[in-house]
Amino acid sequence: MADLTFDNIGISHLQACVPENTIINRRYTDYFSEEEADAIVDKTGIEERRFAKEGVCSSDLVYHAAKKLIDENSIDLSQVKFLIFVSQTADYKMPASSVILQHRLGLGQDCMAFDMNLGCSGFVYGLSTMYSLVQSAFSDKAKGLLLVGETRSRVYSARDRKTAYLFGDAGVACLISKGLKFGESHFDLNSNGELENLIKINTGGSRNPSTVDSLTMEITDSHGNVRTEEHGYMDGTEVFNFVISNIPNSVKSFLNRIELAAQDVSFFVFHQANKFMNNHLKKKLRIPNEKYISNLDRFGNTSSVSIPLVISTEMLNNTLDKSNTLLCGFGVGMSWANALLDLNQTQIGDLLEC
């Protein structure tokens, strides 16, 4: 594992934005029966998700979140020197959406801006990278804006039962700065590219450019699920096997390395995959109910946004101690990462719906 340790860097503010448009899974029956929908909801635990309106992109969701964060807290934009946009549903293949956001948000031209193409591990990866930048910044007042946004509703086929009920859209903005109050934080980050085929969009990149066929030819699996090569697919069984084989051990060795006992963790925030997988992780790691927070039932799997979205909805107005909050992201790549940080000093804005 790539191990990182930081001192006195933290998330000063966190703001989430979700589309108003709510999909009620039990009534998502354009292609599947009510019985099928009910069975899927019962197993996955995802009752509702948010779908961005046509014309609204991930970058828009994070833009609105960032604007609210900046305006409500009178952030001095001249101090924001770093902007990272984490997404696998960016506006264009080029230029990077982060650079466009630099302009939209009115940040200075002396701001470093770049995209990070990762999914479910993306928030922890983005956070560790932003922490590194802010720590090394020339000025003590330098701040970083970590923007994490996804419109996964558009990635998967609505006729593929394996993925049609899982994913939702959201965006989060976090402001990262230096400060003694934040204390120590730790990260560990991992990759296994051998598993590239577990969660994938085959075409539309350089390896397999789009063709008329890739955009229109329907692929039907043995269960009657339909998608094209331009849609995402997920090998659920193999992903599940990967997660249960690797994640519990990864969390345990991370805690070992940082010499923290599991019972001293204040909250566990896992990537919100599905109730079934997450319950298994909770059981395997013996996490008590009061330390496990989730919003899967209301927002589904928002990929890279899921961890900060849980922080936003479940830690707002939560006065319990969050000094040892463990974040655990895992997914597409396969890529996975853990973080341990103090969230007591993080100001969380009310959820924005747009």
Binding site: K43, N241, K283
Partner: protein, 75 residues
């Protein structure tokens, strides 16, 4: 391993407590069997017997007896 206990756990895992099945049942032919049942069973086996049966290995198992033998052989 306790055969009866395993069969009971299996039935509970895929929501068929009120039916009777034996060790030689071809589980893939059960009405309740689907991709979610497969994951639930893999998770149950990990929880109860501390063993993760990889997807590929599971493909070669056909009856509950096969699963129990696998668990016994790989503990």
């Amino acid at each position: 391993m306790d055969k009866q206990k395993f069969i009971e756990l299996f039935k509970e895992t895929i929501d068929m407590e009120d039916k009777e099945i034996k060790g030689d049942v071809v589980f893939r032919e059960l009405e309740e069997w689907d991709s979610l049942a497969l994951l639930s069973v893999i998770a149950m086996i990990d929880d109860e017997y501390d063993i993760i049966i990889q997807g590929n290995d599971f493909k070669s198992l056909n009856t509950l007896n096969d699963i129990m033998t696998y668990i016994n052989d790989n503990k």
